[in-house]
Amino acid sequence: MHHANHFYGHAHVLARYCGLGDRHPPRINGYVQHGWNIGDGLAPGHPYVERTPSLLWSEQTRRRAWAVGRRNVVVTGAPFAYLLALRPPEPEPVEREGTIWYPFHGWEGQHVKGDHRELIARIRDTEPGPVTVCLYWHEYGMRRVRRLYERAGFRVICHGYRGHWWRDTDPLFLDKQLTELRRHQRVASNRLTSAIFYGIAAGCEPAVYGDPMVLADEDPTFGGTARIRRQWPELHGESVDLPTAVEIARAELGTDHRCAPAELRELLGWAHLQENDVDD
């Protein structure tokens, strides 16, 4: 339904999990939460249609969404959790090495303000092994920013374009991210974000440190970075307790609430698909 359902190839992952193959995913009857969220699961400013189902990652987000007036809120778990089910770890996993570092990113509508040089120095001081910096498509396209990290001797990558208005979505965005995460020992960022939780779920040791930077016109409704640090202090620092992190990541990604394929088809509105609903 909403084009945000296609961000990061989420709808594509869910379609594959539901047995619909690699074809263009059918319309979803609801909003799929497209990123870890300290609010109601929807992005700020999201044009909400009354009582349209919100398909959320975690039970905590569901409670929060209900408390701010959302209805038809259902916990289905994060699309990344479904990708993990589609791609279980290799029997003989590749040797993990170094850190994959995700500088906090803005997007087309909101730019990040912060000192990248200072952040690079902090990363160099902290990380014990080789560093891969993963920039969001937006920053990756900014030659000046990308060069800063490359000159620091970091490998700089981008998982792809998340898409906008159903166009140019990289259906393998999450796949690429999972592949990269499984190559690294650690996952780090200057803010607690989806990537950290994905990294923990993919077997990385997490770390959150450095200047969290500022997002232009950041919505303070749900408390911003200060609240994140208050509520999840265990996940902040250059090194955190792994079992605790794994437990929190399971809850935040809703891994235990992952639906069975037939169950998910019903919840997404894909149980009565006509031939016309599925494009090649």
């Binding site: 998910l264 088809r265 149980a271």
Partner: protein, 608 residues
């Protein structure tokens, strides 16, 4: 006292009779088998019994081992009773309580309709205490009184669509409610009045679902103690579901009964109480044989099931002869999907909480982990009961309303309901889950899923929670089986079964629950419909806006294409590729012709 005789020597008319009245016609008599079974239990063989007030004729059948005197106010009922008991030692007195012959003493006095219907409109009124004193005076020393008292604030009054104080029935020539100090209004007051009358209160029972038709009696002590017992949950829910099927109510009586049970108010809000009391006996004789539960579950002809307390917990005891002891024989037998075998009610009653209650609680709390554990346990238990993928007997029909859970142990509560033929285990599971989904959605319960799911969809989701991949075809088969099972248990013919199947298939999340029309649930169904309408309207508005935006984008794209079509580079390019397009078209035509020729050849070869 002037005594006339009429309608044979059996009927005495000491005065005070009501000639144009029938308690049987007005639905006043004590109803249900459990009360009669209890009465039979406290009447020793050869005892002299006074049946005071109107009782169902079935009482006389139960008391065939005793010498019975009936005291009735209705002349019509007296004549009918005398005719029915023509070959038995039954005497009928038609009149008010003052008409009881002086000097007669009885071993047992039974007032199964309470004391109010013992009084006639004729003559001076004795009042509740006065009638009690009269009946107590008719007991021999050591004799037993069995008395019913209706609860003035019982569950039946809480759910009644009409207030008790506005009763307009013919029987409401006086309305004795909770405000009348001369009338006991709770169990403690009742025991006090009995003591004041020189009697010693003994065992007592809570009567459900309605004073006028008691189909379940539960020992008050056990009801207070075991407030979460699956047995009581199922018995009270079943009694209240069946007992209000034909009357409008304010709220679901079954829900209220189970809630009051869990709150420890099962006795306080029972529609009626039945007490035993002895005259001139400080301590009662051995009452160990009295049941914990006497209940008629299912249609009237299936009899009364009984549970007794033993040193090893509760046990089933068969008292009523089973209506049917196996799959029905005869030409219709193959069409019956289920039957009741009362002989299966032996041994211990499984302990634990009712699965339906546990699931509802988890749904209300949106506790997905607990739901997953319970549903997976249920599915696993069904599978463990299966042989070659098919589950037979009681487990095949054991829905969440007949399964108890203790820790990780699942068990059929009442094993007497049995499937005639083994069912595929996924169909049995889908049937159980569909039935629960119907309760959840049509009952208006809050749950963790979206309103966009229909009944079949929620069944599939519940299957997923149980770790099983159900599909809608399996769910449809399960609904067919459900219709067949219900039709068999209700004794419906083929036409009735088809009608039932249509009704079940037509159930929607916005439907009120089948059964009694509850104002609260009808309103909830209307609210759900309104919310769904609001949701669909909002989606329609959003879709219209999106369509407008997409149409605008399409127009822009069209304009761009037209612009490019007119450009020199496009025209040159088109000229360049024209031979290639012709060649492709010719190749496709040749391919088509070749395929057609091959097909014709294959057909010829097959014909040869």
């Amino acid at each position: 006292m002037t005594t006339d005789t009429a309608a044979g020597d059996r009927i005495s008319l000491p005065g005070g009779e009501m000639l144009a009245w029938s308690d049987l016609r007005t639905g006043g008599p004590a109803g249900g088998g459990p009360l009669a079974v209890l009465a039979a239990r406290v009447v020793p063989a050869g005892a002299r019994v006074l049946l005071a007030g109107p009782h169902e004729p079935a009482f006389l059948d139960r008391l065939a081992h005793a010498e019975v005197t009936c005291l009735l106010r209705s002349h019509l009922d007296g004549v009918a009773l005398a005719d029915r008991a023509a070959d038995r030692a039954v005497r009928v007195i038609v009149g008010g309580p003052a008409g009881l012959p002086a000097g007669e003493a009885y071993d047992v006095v039974i007032a199964g309709s309470g004391l109010d219907p013992v009084e006639s409109v004729e003559g001076a009124r004795l009042g509740w205490d006065g009638v009690l004193a009269t009946l107590a005076g008719a007991l021999r020393p050591g004799g037993t009184l069995l008395l019913r008292l209706d609860n003035p604030v019982g569950l039946h009054r809480i759910v009644d669509a009409s207030p008790w104080y506005a009763d307009r029935d013919d029987a409401a020539w006086t309305i004795d409610g909770v405000l009348h100090a001369g009338h006991p209004a709770n169990l403690d007051q009742l025991r006090g009045r009995l003591t004041d009358a020189g009697l010693t209160p003994d065992a007592s029972f809570a009567g459900y679902p309605h004073p006028a038709a008691v189909t379940a009696l539960v020992a008050t002590g056990e009801l207070d103690r075991a407030t979460s017992a699956g047995l009581f949950d199922a018995v009270l829910h079943g009694a209240c579901t069946g007992g209000y099927a034909d009357r409008p109510v304010l709220q679901d009586p079954a829900r209220l009964a189970v809630d009051t049970l869990h709150a420890g108010l099962g006795n306080a809000l029972a529609p009626a109480w039945v007490v035993l009391a002895r005259r001139d006996t400080a301590t009662g004789a051995d009452r160990a044989d009295l049941p914990v539960v006497l209940a008629r579950t299912g249609p009237p002809e299936v009899g009364v099931m009984e549970v007794v307390a033993t040193t090893h917990g509760w046990h089933w005891r068969v008292t009523d002869p089973p209506a049917r002891s196996g799959p029905a024989a005869g030409p219709c037998a193959s069409r019956l999907a289920a039957y009741r075998d009362a002989g299966a009610l032996t041994g211990p009653v499984p302990t634990g909480r009712l699965l339906r209650t546990l699931l509802l609680d988890a749904c209300l709390r949106r506790d997905l982990d607990t739901l997953r554990t319970l549903l997976a346990g249920y599915a696993g238990w069904l599978e463990s009961s299966a042989v070659d993928g098919r589950v037979a007997g009681a487990p095949a029909l054991a829905g969440v309303d007949n399964v108890v859970v203790a820790g990780d142990r699942f068990a059929v509560l009442d094993p007497s309901w049995r499937a005639a033929e083994p069912l595929p285990v996924d169909v049995a599971l889908a049937r159980g889950l569909w039935r629960f989904a119907a309760v959840l959605l049509t009952g208006g319960y809050a749950h963790p899923w979206s309103s966009t799911l229909d009944l079949a969809g929620l069944t599939v989701v519940l299957g997923g929670m149980a770790g099983r991949e159900l599909d809608r075809t399996t769910v449809a088969a399960a609904v067919e089986i459900e219709a067949a099972v219900v039709a068999a248990l209700r004794g419906l013919d083929a036409k009735g079964r088809l009608k039932l199947a249509d009704e079940l298939s037509a159930l929607e999340p916005t439907s009120p629950p089948p059964g009694p029309e509850s104002w609260q649930q009808l309103r909830e169904a209307w609210l759900r419909q309104r919310e769904e309408l609001g949701r669909v309207r909002a989606v329609l508005g959003w879709t219209e806006d999106l369509l407008t935006s997409r149409e605008r984008a399409l127009r822009r794209a069209d304009a761009m294409i037209n612009l490019l079509n007119g450009s020199v580079s496009y025209r040159v390019g088109r000229l360049v590729i024209t031979p290639a397009r012709w060649a492709r078209r010719a190749a496709r035509a040749a391919k088509r012709r070749l395929r057609a020729a091959l097909r014709r050849r294959v057909v010829r070869e097959e014909q040869q």
